[in-house]
Amino acid sequence: MLHTFVAYVEDLPGVLTRVASLFRRLNININSLTVGRSERVGLSRLTLVCEASTEAGDRIRASLYKLENVVDVDDIAKDPAVTRELALIKVAASPSNRSQIFDLVEVFRARIVDLTSESLMIEMTGVESKIEGLIEVLREDDGRILEICRSGKMTMRRGHHTSSVLKAMGAKTEDIADADAESSEIAKESTVIEPE
C-alpha cells in the first residue's frame, strides 16, 4: 500500500541522507519527497510517500523515530488529509495557438506564470490526478511539452491536530536550534505555494 509519512526533522546537514538511507536499506523506493521549513524554528517538515506492505508502516515509523534528528513522525495513511502537489510545465506555444492553451489552463484552474513568443509556463497546484490530467491533455500534441517540474506531494491532516510529541515540545517558537537571520531569509524563499 501507499504510505505517506510526515516528519519534523532538525534542519542540519546530512539529515536528509539519514532519512533517505533508512529507505535505501529496506530497499523501498521513495515515490516522492518534499522538504521545507515548518512553523517551528530549526525544524523542517518533510512529506515522504512510498510503497510498502501494510505491516511495514509501523516499523518504518518506529525506525524513523530512532534517527536522532527526527523529532516527530506521522503516518497519515488513510486518515482525512489534504494532499497537494505543485507542477511547473513549460510548453511550446506560438501566438497562433496560445489561446487553445489558455482555455485548457482555465478548465484545469491552473495559471500562466511566464510567457514568451515561443513558449509559456503553466503553474498548477492540486492533487496528483489533476496534474496528471493536465499533462495528459497537453501531451495530445506531440512535442508540445518542453519541461515538467513537479514538487512531489505535501500533506497535512484535516481538522485541528497537533501530535503529542510536538505538543510536549510546547510553543511553536521554542528553539530546537538557534535560527539566525540567514535561515529565516531562506525560509521566505522556499515558500512554494503562494496564497491565491
Binding site: R59, R61, K66, L67, E68
Partner: protein
C-alpha cells in the same frame, strides 16, 4: 597515565569555564564523562589530540590495528556496562574501526569512537588520508557527528555519550577536523550538556496491555520466558527471576542472554536456537505462551519464522519499538525498558503451579542432561567440550570469558555455565571473527580484578593476533585458550552437512601458537590429551602474566544439536548415534 596534578587541573576545567584548544576539550570532556581508559592509534589528523593527552588523567592503550581499538572499547563496555572509547586518525585509521563499530551496533553496545579528519578547508577534496567516515558509518552507528568548529566539540561528545547509553544502546562516532582540534574555545562542561533525553515516542506500556499480559500468564499451561541481552542491559535480572519463580515459568536464554539468569537455577532450561539443546527448542515449539524479555527473535533463535512456535501466544517486552512484529508477530507488545515494564507487571502476577509443564520438559531431556562430561571415560581424543568444561570447573565459573566466533563459541555457550551477567562476552549479532583477543583486553581494563579468559579458534585468533603485543606493552594478564582444530571449524561443519564434505578453503595452517606467544615474551603450552587439560588450565591461572594454551583438539568434530539455517526449530540435527564426546569419526 596522568598525575595527580593533571587530575586536579582537569577537575578545575570541569567546574570553571576555561579557554582550551579543541584537542584539550576532547580530553576534558572525556574526563567529565568519567572516562579513565581509551583505546586508540595515533596519526596525522588526530595528532593534536594525542599531543594534549599528557595533560589529562586518562590512560591510553596503544592498539596494533584500529579494529582492535573498537573491539576493546566494545569489550570494555560489555564487561563494565559503561561507555567504551576508541580513537583513530582519519582515512584508513577510521575505516579500520568499522568492523568493531558494526559489531557493537548489532549487539547494542555503547561505545564512542573519536576520529580525526582533515582540516575543514580541505574537507571533500580527497585530501591525503581523507575519507567520509560519517557517511560510511551512517548505517552502522546509532548516530554520528562531523565536527568542524572547536566550540562544537564538547556538545557533540556529550551528546554522543548520552545517545550511546540511552534507550537501546549503540555505537556513536564523532569525527573532528584537525583545525577544530587546533583551534581554541571556551570549554564549559555544564553548558555543553545535551538536551534532555527524549524517549522514543512509541514507547508504550498501557494498562490494558499489562492486564492482557497478566491474563495470558495466568491462563497459560505451557509458558516459557525467553530472556535476551536486554535483561542485563536493563539490569532486570532480579525482575526476570521473580517472574520466573513466582509463576513457575521455565526460562530459555539467547546467546547474549547467557548469564542474565543463573545457569544453576532449576528453572533455567539453557540456550535456545540454532545450537540450543533440543529440549529447549522443542519446548518453544510446544509452548502456549512465550514471554520475550529483551530479545529480538533473531533468525538464529527462530529458525524458519513461518514454523516458529505456532501454538503460542506471544508477549514481547522490548525497548526498541522497531523490533515489535519485525520477525515474529506478537499478541501483546509492552514497549519500554524491561526492568520498568516488569516492575509494573509483577504486581499483577500471582503464584501458579507450573509443575506439570516443567515435568514434561524435564522428561524430554533424556540421557543428555544427566551426562556429566567429567565422568566420561577418556577415549584418547581431546574434545573442545572437555577443554571448556575444565575451564568452567577450575575457574568455578567466575571468570569473564571472551569468545571469538565459530564452533568454540557454541561449545563455550553449551559447556561453560554462566551464573552472572557480563561474564560472557561474545559477538552474537555480527559474528565477528577476531573479536575475542581485543575484546578481552578491553574487558580486562574494565575489570582488572577479574580473571579474564579468551576462548578462540585457530582461525579467528589469527585475525587479530597482533594485539598480543598490546597485552605485553600494557603488562596485563589474560588467559588465552585456542581451540585449535586445523580448520575454520564452523564453516567446515556446514560443508560437511550441506556441501557434501567439500572442504574448500577451510583447512588452515597456523603458526606454532606457543612459539608465537614466546616471540612476544608470553608463556604458552600446547595441550594434546585430556589428562593434561586441568594442569594446563591451572598453570595458566597461576602464571603471573598472560598465558596462552594451544589446545590441539579433534579436527572434524561438529557442534550438536544444530538447526540448519532456515529450518524449523524441531527439525534439528541431533548428536549422532555414537557419542562424539567418547568417539572420534576416525574410530569407525
Amino acid at each position: 597515565m596522568g598525575t595527580n596534578a593533571n587530575q586536579q587541573a582537569s577537575n578545575a576545567h570541569l567546574t570553571t569555564p576555561t579557554r582550551l584548544t579543541g584537542a584539550e576539550i576532547v580530553w576534558a570532556t572525556l574526563v567529565g564523562e568519567g572516562v579513565t581508559d581509551v583505546f586508540g592509534y595515533p596519526g596525522g589528523a588526530i595528532l593534536p589530540v594525542y599531543d594534549a593527552l599528557r595533560k589529562f588523567p586518562i590512560h591510553h592503550v596503544l592498539v596494533r590495528h584500529e579494529q582492535g581499538a573498537s573491539h576493546m572499547a566494545d569489550g570494555y563496555a560489555r564487561a563494565s556496562g559503561k561507555v567504551g572509547v576508541a580513537i583513530a586518525t582519519s582515512g584508513p585509521g577510521a575505516t579500520n574501526l568499522i568492523t568493531g563499530i558494526a559489531t557493537a551496533m548489532l549487539d547494542s553496545i555503547p561505545i564512542v569512537c573519536i576520529t580525526g579528519n582533515v582540516s575543514s578547508k580541505v574537507l571533500g577534496t580527497d585530501a591525503f588520508q581523507e575519507v567520509d567516515i560519517t557517511g560510511i558509518t551512517l548505517p552502522v552507528t546509532k548516530h554520528n557527528f562531523l565536527v568542524n568548529r572547536t566550540e562544537d566539540i564538547a556538545p557533540a561528545l556529550r551528546s554522543a555519550f548520552q545517545i550511546a547509553q540511552s534507550g537501546r544502546p549503540g555505537p556513536v562516532l564523532v569525527d573532528i577536523t584537525k583545525d577544530a582540534q587546533q583551534g581554541s574555545a571556551i570549554f564549559d562542561f555544564a553548558a555543553a550538556k545535551p538536551r534532555a533525553y527524549r524517549p522514543h515516542p512509541m514507547l508504550r506500556v498501557e494498562d490494558s496491555g499489562l492486564a492482557h499480559a497478566a491474563e495470558l500468564i495466568r491462563n497459560a499451561k505451557r509458558p516459557i520466558i525467553l530472556a535476551g541481552h536486554g535483561v542485563s542491559e536493563s539490569g532486570a535480572m532480579e525482575q526476570v527471576r521473580t517472574l520466573a519463580e513466582r509463576a513457575q515459568i521455565p526460562v530459555a536464554l539467547t546467546l547474549l542472554g547467557l548469564g542474565a539468569f543463573p545457569a544453576s537455577h532449576s528453572l533455567n532450561m539453557g540456550m535456545m536456537g540454532m545450537h540450543g539443546e533440543a529440549w529447549v527448542n522443542h519446548a518453544i515449539q510446544e509452548a502456549d505462551l512465550l514471554i520475550a524479555c529483551g530479545m529480538r527473535f533473531d533468525d538464529r533463535v527462530t529458525g524458519s519464522t513461518s514454523t516458529y512456535s505456532l501454538k503460542s501466544k506471544k508477549i514481547h517486552i522490548e525497548v526498541d519499538p522497531a523490533e515489535i512484529n519485525k520477525n515474529i508477530k506478537v499478541d501483546v507488545a509492552l514497549v519500554g525498558d524491561l526492568r520498568e515494564v516488569l516492575e509494573q507487571l509483577l504486581p499483577r502476577i500471582a503464584g501458579r503451579d507450573g509443575s506439570a509443564w516443567i515435568k514434561t520438559i524435564e522428561s524430554s531431556k533424556g540421557a543428555v542432561a544427566v551426562r556429566d562430561i567429567k565422568n566420561l571415560s577418556d577415549s584418547g581424543h581431546l574434545y573442545a567440550a572437555h577443554v571448556i568444561h575444565d575451564i568452567w570447573r577450575i575457574t568455578g565459573g567466575n571468570a569473564v570469558v571472551v569468545t571469538d566466533v565459530g564452533q568454540h563459541q557454541m561449545w563455550e555457550a553449551q559447556y561453560f555455565h554462566h551464573e552472572h551477567p557480563r561474564t560472557l562476552i561474545t559477538s552474537g549479532g555480527l559474528g565477528t571473527m577476531g573479536f575475542a583477543l581485543p575484546a578481552a583486553i578491553g574487558a580486562k581494563f574494565a575489570c582488572p580484578d577479574k580473571e579474564v579468559w579468551v576462548v578462540a579458534g585457530d582461525g579467528g585468533f589469527q585475525m587479530t593476533a597482533a594485539e598480543l603485543s598490546t597485552i605485553v606493552q600494557e603488562g596485563i594478564k589474560i588467559n588465552i585458550a585456542i581451540i585449535n582444530n586445523g580448520y575454520l571449524g564452523m564453516v567446515r561443519q556446514w560443508q560437511e552437512f550441506f556441501y557434501e564434505r567439500n572442504y574448500e578453503s577451510t583447512p588452515l595452517i597456523s603458526p606454532d601458537f606457543v612459539k608465537l606467544a614466546d616471540a612476544h615474551g608470553i608463556q604458552g603450552l600446547a595441550v594434546r590429551t585430556r589428562p593434561e587439560v586441568a594442569g594446563a588450565v591451572e598453570a595458566a591461572r597461576s602464571a603471573p602474566g598472560t598465558f596462552l594454551l594451544n589446545f590441539l583438539v579433534e579436527k572434524e568434530e561438529s557442534v550438536y544439536p544444530m538447526i540448519p539455517s532456515g529450518s524449523a526449530l524441531h527439525e534439528m540435527i541431533l548428536r549422532p548415534g555414537h557419542d562424539p564426546l567418547l568417539e572420534s569419526p576416525d574410530d569407525k
